[in-house]
């Protein structure tokens, strides 16, 4: 129906119907509001801000054409993104003004997952949550409530609230997404690293599909590299857009990336292709690495990963020859396996072995203010460090976290407490985990949708139903909110100001966070305000020593008002000049800018790396006997099953914006990719209705018969088959891939598995 009408007339229709019948709109949504209150007021000049249609946080600016709509584009001041946005970024206005978005708090009146709600005031909502949290604290202890907040801004507010309340069970979304490579960086490089794709001459890419799972800066850099004649090798079980743009596509066997990388290292070492000088000076653990990969010959591993031994050897030779302008992309997501940490460490070691570190076209260490300032002399100006308001000490928690991070023998010791192993939350609600001694009884979730994003949907829903309290803070009745007791309406990113951010790439940089383009619609409130108000209701106001976000920002910059003004006006700021420690030209530029840094320059005209790169991990050896790299074969499927894998679509983000009208109209029911030979064997034709099933779930979908996937594999886009009936456009459409996956939590990395066995039949 929405497709046949203009949005304006649809809004009119839906609100009229609601007024007449009083039942067609979901309580608390924009569609249920009086027409007069729906108008929005905003800035008609471009306001710099940050996108939130996915987690890539691209820089944008937006302007309102009053009463007519909004135009969003990339922030032209940001050179790495070139002023560009993707389809999701462009459709932000549609999220802002969606009749199905939530603009009032709602409380559950039926059973969890029944979809019966009543509107409540913010005060009623706070009172309810405060009382429930107090009850749980009295009965089981505050630590039995887990707090999950989406990366970045919301963590600041809700993790503060959690710790003030007395829970140390803090989580982000990381363990369902980037965690393994973050941990690997910390282990191998003792800090974050980035990839200089644009200048590379040779890139190996394992299913890192930046042209569909779009990060604007990566997509542009990859395209730049290709345009300048770089060779890009795509190893992906499916013919993704990345595979199509790459110089070569090799359909690797799902879940078997690690054997490929181990054979690759084996060739680099055995054929003496590695950079001996670099390895001797900057790496440690080479002998252990050499010994551990000795058995992983290309011939042996070719059988595992289904890439011919000669091809592996050729790639290793080409890669070494292209170094230092060579990148073995440590990738995002790939086909997540039980050996995620080993895989990412192994990939990163490839770049270290050929010395493609801290030079153009290779890896480089992220240079935060603290990192950068270390190389500056006394007389040089220093990169500003953002401050945090001082808060009272948090109450001490005597028991371990559910992931045991912070305990001496925790297998997840590499993980930061603010990230945590969120994939363990459902398990910890259903069972007392070993060495933990308690079960979780409450889950406070800010802008995260575990029902869609964690593997094995049934397990997550079972856990939510077992909880004493489920609070969700979101812009819509997400699939997780569907099972909540109370849902608090967040502002969309176009309606709120956020704290300033500091980060580092080749030099330190700062961001404005988000800036309000329009006034909040309805009664939605931003995270900084909700956490503060709820804390005040709970008598914990002292932990939130700021009046509003403006006051918080002022405390962040201290007396550096120039930084404040610059960030607000342009959206970003940086300090100094780009620095690549192993690049003579870059170091010379750096010294020219900061003369007293000359003392740090070595006889070769470069600067020594701050830490040894670890090709063997003594810490992992102590905790889990996994210091060296080893391949442990894993049985993903039965012999008569097909591999099932998923990946990202360019017009939908994970579990988040499938209900956006514009995006949903572009792709509402993604088909399951199946190879023509497999389809023929199963009697399936293109467009047929099919069932994809295994011991965990049965999903209904339609078939896309294509040579763009391996014969032994079926593929579906992620983020389909929504479960919340309040997401009316996306509900039930397409295959929900996470429902088919196993609930396994991988050792040491805490990641989910994204490869499983399925059978497919005609429905």
């Amino acid at each position: 129906m929405t497709q046949m009408l203009s949005r304006r007339s649809f809004l009119k229709l839906s609100s009229t119907a609601a007024a007449v019948a009083g039942l067609s709109s979901i309580p608390g949504t924009l569609g249920a509001m009086e027409e007069a209150k729906k108008q929005y007021k905003g800035n008609t000049k471009f306001t710099p801000s940050i996108c939130e249609m996915c987690t890539s946080s691209c820089t944008i600016e937006a302007r309102v054409e009053d009463g007519k709509g909004m135009f969003i584009r990339g922030n032209p001041a940001d050179k790495s993104r070139g002023g560009k946005v993707c389809a999701r970024g462009s459709s932000g206005f549609n999220q802002l003004y969606d009749p199905q978005r939530l603009v009032k708090p709602i409380m559950r009146v039926g059973e969890r997952g029944e979809g019966k709600w009543k509107e409540v005031s913010w005060d009623e909502a706070y009172t309810f949550i405060a009382k429930k949290l107090e009850d749980i604290k009295q009965k089981y202890g505050a630590h039995t409530v887990a707090f999950t907040a989406r990366s970045g801004w919301n963590k600041t507010w809700f993790h503060n609230l959690a710790q003030a309340y007395g829970s140390h069970n803090l989580f982000g979304h990381e363990a369902t997404c980037p965690l393994a490579y973050d941990l690997a960086m910390d282990d191998v490089f003792e800090g974050g690293i980035s990839r200089d794709f644009g200048k590379a001459k040779y890139i190996i890419n394992l299913s890192h599909n930046v042209f569909e799972g779009i990060v604007i800066s990566y997509a542009r850099q990859y395209m730049d590299a290709l345009a300048h004649g770089a060779k890009v090798i795509s190893l992906d079980p499916r013919f993704s857009t990345m595979a199509a743009k790459a110089t070569e596509w090799h359909p690797i066997k799902p879940g078997h990336d690690l054997p490929f990388v181990l054979a690759f290292i084996n060739v680099l070492i055995n054929e003496n292709l590695y950079n001996k000088k670099f390895v001797e000076k900057y790496c440690e653990g080479f002998e252990e690495l050499k010994a551990s990969v000795a058995e992983y010959t290309p011939e042996k591993m070719a059988v595992e990963c289904d890439i011919p031994a000669d091809t592996i050897k050729r790639m290793a030779r080409e890669f070494a020859k292209a170094a230092p302008k060579a990148i073995f992309d440590f990738c995002h997501r790939v086909t997540l396996t039980p050996q995620e940490l080993e895989l990412r460490r192994a990939i990163m070691m490839c770049n270290a072995l050929v010395g493609a570190i801290e030079q153009e076209g290779g890896y480089y260490l992220n240079k935060s203010a603290a990192f950068y300032n270390k190389y500056l002399g006394e007389n040089d100006p220093k990169a500003p460090v953002l401050k945090k308001p001082k808060t009272p000490a948090y109450p001490k928690v005597e028991v371990p976290r559910i992931d045991r991070i912070g305990e001496k023998d925790s297998e997840f010791f590499l993980c930061k407490k603010g990230n945590g192993i969120v994939t363990l939350v459902p398990h910890a609600a259903l069972n007392e985990l070993p060495g933990v001694g308690y079960k979780l009884h409450g889950w406070f979730i800010a802008r995260n949708n575990p029902v869609m994003t964690q593997s094995n949907t049934e397990n997550v829903i079972k856990a939510l139903k077992a909880m004493d309290l489920v609070v969700v803070f979101d812009i819509q009745v997400s699939d997780t909110a569907w099972f909540a007791d109370i849902v608090l309406p967040d502002t969309t990113y176009l309606e709120r100001d956020e704290e300033f951010t500091a980060s580092g790439s080749k030099n330190p940089s700062y961001g404005v966070g988000r800036q309000k383009v329009v006034e909040p619609i309805g009664e939605c409130r931003p995270g900084w305000r909700v956490a503060k108000e709820l804390a005040e209701k709970m008598g914990l106001g002292a932990y939130f020593p700021y009046k509003d976000i403006e006051d918080y920002r002022l405390q962040q910059v201290g007396d550096n008002l120039d930084l404040l003004a610059k960030l607000k006006a342009t959206g970003s700021a940086s300090f100094g000049v780009p620095l690549l420690l192993q690049d003579k030209k870059s170091v010379a530029e750096f010294v020219k800018k900061f003369p007293s840094a000359a003392s740090k320059v070595n006889e070769e005209g470069t600067i020594d790396l701050p830490h040894k790169i670890k090709l063997f991990s003594p810490e992992l050896e102590t905790v889990s006997k996994k210091g060296a790299l080893h391949y442990e074969p894993y049985k993903y499927k039965e012999a008569d099953e097909l591999y099932f894998i998923n990946g990202k679509s360019a017009v939908r983000t994970n579990g988040h914006n499938g209900n956006n009208a514009w995006l949903n109209n572009l792709l509402d029911d993604a088909a399951v990719w199946i190879h023509p030979k497999t389809a023929e064997r199963l009697g399936i034709k293109n467009g047929d209705k099919i069932e994809v099933y295994n011991k965990y779930a049965t999903q209904k979908g339609k078939a896309l018969v294509t040579k763009g996937v391996r014969e032994d594999t079926v593929f579906a886009y992620f983020g389909f088959g929504h479960i919340s009936k309040d997401l009316k456009r996306a509900y039930g459409k397409g295959v929900n891939s996470n429902s088919l996956y196993s609930p396994l939590v991988s050792p040491n990395s805490g990641m989910n598995l994204h490869v499983v066995g399925v059978k497919v039949k005609k429905a």
Binding site: T2, Q3, M4, L5, S6, R7, S9, F10, K68, G69, M70, F71, I72, R73, G74, G82, G83, K84, V85, C86, A87, R88, G89, S90, S91, F93, N94, F211, E212, I214, I216, A219, R220, M223, A227, F239, T241, A244, K245, W249, A650, V651, A661, W662, L663, N665, L666, T706, K707, G708
Partner: protein, 184 residues
Amino acid sequence: MVHDNNLCIGCQACNVACRSENKIPDSVYRLQVWVKQEEYPNGSLGYEYHRQSCVHCENTPCVSVCPTKASHVNEDGIVLVDNDLCVGCLYCVAACPYQARYVHPVTKAPDKCTFCHESRLSRGEEPACVTVCPTEALVFGDLLDPKSKINKVLSERVTYRQKERLGTKPKMYIVPNHKGGINS
């Protein structure tokens, strides 16, 4: 305008930006990118990206058939529709060999890509699709200016135009996919 198939990733950023900037009703579109998987003669696979939109012909069937001069070419060579002059005969919709026109559900007049003439060009901005394109697959500019970026691109890359045999002389140039065997 130039659409480079090698740089296009089919992400639909252009499609949505156009919808957002020009307030296109959900049921219709001025611009889409159609993505098609191809198997090339050498057995390799590829994606072809077709920009489905007005190609702004120089020899314009839609203008030729218009009885009221509502369909016209402006001084910049952009094909436009003047709603006030339109009587809704829809000859233009039928005459367009590129299926670029649709009937606007509210105005009932034919509508199509205007290169954002009214919303952006008048403010000195590029069309919305060009502004947002993540990989710069679209290049826009003045074909009459020999120094313009678009003329530089046209001199460097091999291009073709859709249905050239019809003699419509579109001002939409396409750089074919190298993977298809044509190198430029």
